[in-house]
């Protein structure tokens, strides 16, 4: 009989090997699905995983795009992971992302068409502030009134979406847009735009911010007392209180950081790749980032890799859709499978699988 035995500490070997194993398993299961849909499975898998990186025609463009797609995911996921570690559930990053974009773009557009060096830095601050404020609402309600932050942060997403529609139709609407919804395009307003910094690399300020966040979170968690408090609060709340951790402060801090980072992601996106505030501006980065945070096991380096992997499946999935005619739904299901396998094989790094019956505990 099979049984599981918890490892004293996660296995280094399996931590490295499980993602590879998961990808292989996904290729097999996904291949079967693609075959069932009447497509060549080998070609489909190659298009999703290989072509965005190495295809002679696309790779020079899609490789940098990986960073563009992964940037906001990583930035948001890093913020979320701190809260998740402390047992604080902010699942409303999508709303904070929207508000960051609205605040940031609002500041930028307020200066239009002036040209000052400080406009973009101001927008960055406003973006972080927008996300921070939006996250503070569930945080303060939690600390003051004991409301559940899962519910409030989630519902705040819908409210933010309504604000977004309202702003794209009203206050921020492009006066020269002929009555159509959507703001001016910030990429055509250099003082407020977030362009590609080095041609052909996909690097923009958002990607740099994401990398900085990874490093900062790594240091925070490894070296700083605050990181210790966060981990302690999540693993042993009572011990944390004895150790002098202030739970109210921790909630405000973790929600604040995750909100501000999500807001930043929104700002960099609206000023860069997206270019403008529009009704459909948010595309689910805030929710996908939750998956990324857990795929990366709430570890900054893991999140970096998980973000890149998610980005790869998005871009590869796009290629597979129009090169091979695979339905978008099949790509979605395929991504779901990949996540299932990644989550499932994680077992191997935390547990040993043993044959036979359990021994007596010592």
């Amino acid at each position: 009989m099979l049984r599981l035995e918890k490892r004293p500490s996660p296995s280094r070997f399996w931590q490295g090997a499980t993602p590879v194993l998961a990808v292989v398993l996904t290729m097999i299961a996904g291949g079967l699905m693609f075959a069932a849909l009447g497509k060549n499975p080998v070609e489909a898998i190659r298009t999703i995983f290989w072509d965005p990186l190495f295809h002679p025609q696309f790779a020079s463009y899609s490789r940098p795009q990986l960073l563009v797609k992964a940037g906001p995911l990583i930035l948001i996921a890093i913020g979320l992971s701190l809260g998740f570690r402390a047992g604080i559930w902010n699942i409303g990053a999508e709303g904070q992302y929207i508000m960051g974009a609205l605040f940031g773009a609002g500041v930028g557009l307020a200066f239009y068409p002036a040209d000052h060096w400080f406009i973009f830095p101001l927008m960055v601050i406003a973006g972080a502030l927008g996300g921070w404020i939006w996250a503070m609402i569930p945080a303060i309600l939690k600390t003051k009134f004991n409301t559940n932050e899962i519910l409030v942060s989630l519902l705040m997403v819908y409210i933010a979406q309504n604000f977004l529609s309202s702003m794209s139709l009203g206050l921020l609407r492009n006066p020269q847009g002929g009555g159509f919804p959507g703001s001016r395009n910030l990429s055509q307003y250099p003082a407020a735009s977030n362009p590609e910094l080095f041609a052909g690399t996909g690097m923009h300020w958002g990607v740099i911010a994401a990398l900085m966040a990874v490093i900062a979170a790594y240091i925070l968690l490894q070296r700083h007392i605050l990181g210790f408090h966060i981990k302690l609060a999540g693993q042993a709340p009572r011990a944390a209180r004895y150790a002098g951790v202030n739970p109210t402060g921790l909630v405000l801090l973790c929600m604040g950081i995750s909100g501000a980072l999500a807001g930043l992601a929104g700002l960099f996106e609206v000023a860069g790749p997206a270019g403008q505030i529009s009704i459909g501006f948010n595309v689910g980065y805030g929710f996908t980032a939750i998956i990324v945070a857990f795929l990366g096991r709430l570890n900054p380096i893991g999140i970096l890799l998980a973000g890149l992997l998610m980005a790869l499946t998005y871009i590869g999935g796009e290629l597979a859709q129009f090169m091979l005619g695979l339905p978008a739904a099949a790509i979605q299901a395929f991504q779901g499978m990949l996540l299932f396998f990644l989550l499932a094989v994680d077992l191997l790094s935390n547990y040993r699988i043993r044959l036979g019956y359990k021994k007596e505990a010592i």
Partner: protein
Amino acid sequence: MKRTTLLATAALGLGMAFGGAASAQGMDKVKACFVYVGPIGDLGWTYQHHQGALEVVETYGDKVEIAFQENVPEGADAERVLTQMALSGCNIIFTTSFGYMDPTNTVAAKFPDIKFEHSTGYKREHPNVSTYNARFYEGRAIQGHIAGKMTKTNKIGYIGSFPIPEVVMGINSYYLHAKKVNPDVQLSVVWAFTWFDPAKEADAAKALIDQGVDVIAAHTDSTAPLAEAAKTNGAVIGFGQASDMADFKPSPRVSSIIDNWAPYYVKRVGQLLDGTYEQVDSWAGIPEGEVEIGEITDAVPAEVKAEAEAMRDAIEAGTYHPFTGPINKQDGSVWLADGDVASDGDLLGMTFFIEGITGDIPQ
């Protein structure tokens, strides 16, 4: 902008590699690509665009190849999808939602040899960008006529998606023609703030019905409003939107507006094949077959049906424009003097209700 040149060079290389000397001489084979905002199974907006795409293949057979991508978010992702399509050797790319406007123009700048066609927008910043749209308000006029004649409660309803000119134009046309045949008619507008959310659309229809409305038109994409009307056993009627929605014949669906993009797509790809392609700003309607009026069922009295069909024929023949003065704005000021016809520019930027409609357009 080094990347621009890099990509342009790549595109040039590809253009040659794919054997499409895209010039006035025409092409032997065209790869036409389509970017969709929803799934092709939405049975509304995207479904109809895809039907148009399939018609292109039907018409030209081996001479065309199509590729498409569904569920492409408007914004950053659109730009990437468009670039990848351009790199893959598409000769003409149709972008079928308003939100693709800026990405379409941005990418078009990098690939001057590829034709871009943007639906429902107005920006043509480069010679290789064309825009196209359909005059849905022509269909709304006919629906308004039927609504004005058919309503027993004198209350008619409209489920709006977002308050943009496209939708406002449709509401005005609908109300104007209902009012013409029934001066007592009152219009209730419910804004759903969504293009597609069946449950919410059903709620909106229910709210209108509960308010005594007995004719409902919708500018959202699902059949939910019709299904809600169907529950009233014939007391409430409605119209198919985007696709024919024939399942709800003969009532509550008494007619429909069908977006038929096939004539335009077939024409444009054909022009690319025979070398007569030029940049256009196309806004076609009933005369060109781009807006079709679905069969008016027997639930509509024969004389009303005949009048509605006469209006359709007049629009088709070009003898009647749905926005012909005198028409005042909501605040009573004159918009069109007697006999004047609305300019396309006025219509495309329409952000006001006409006289008689109560309620404000959300700002």
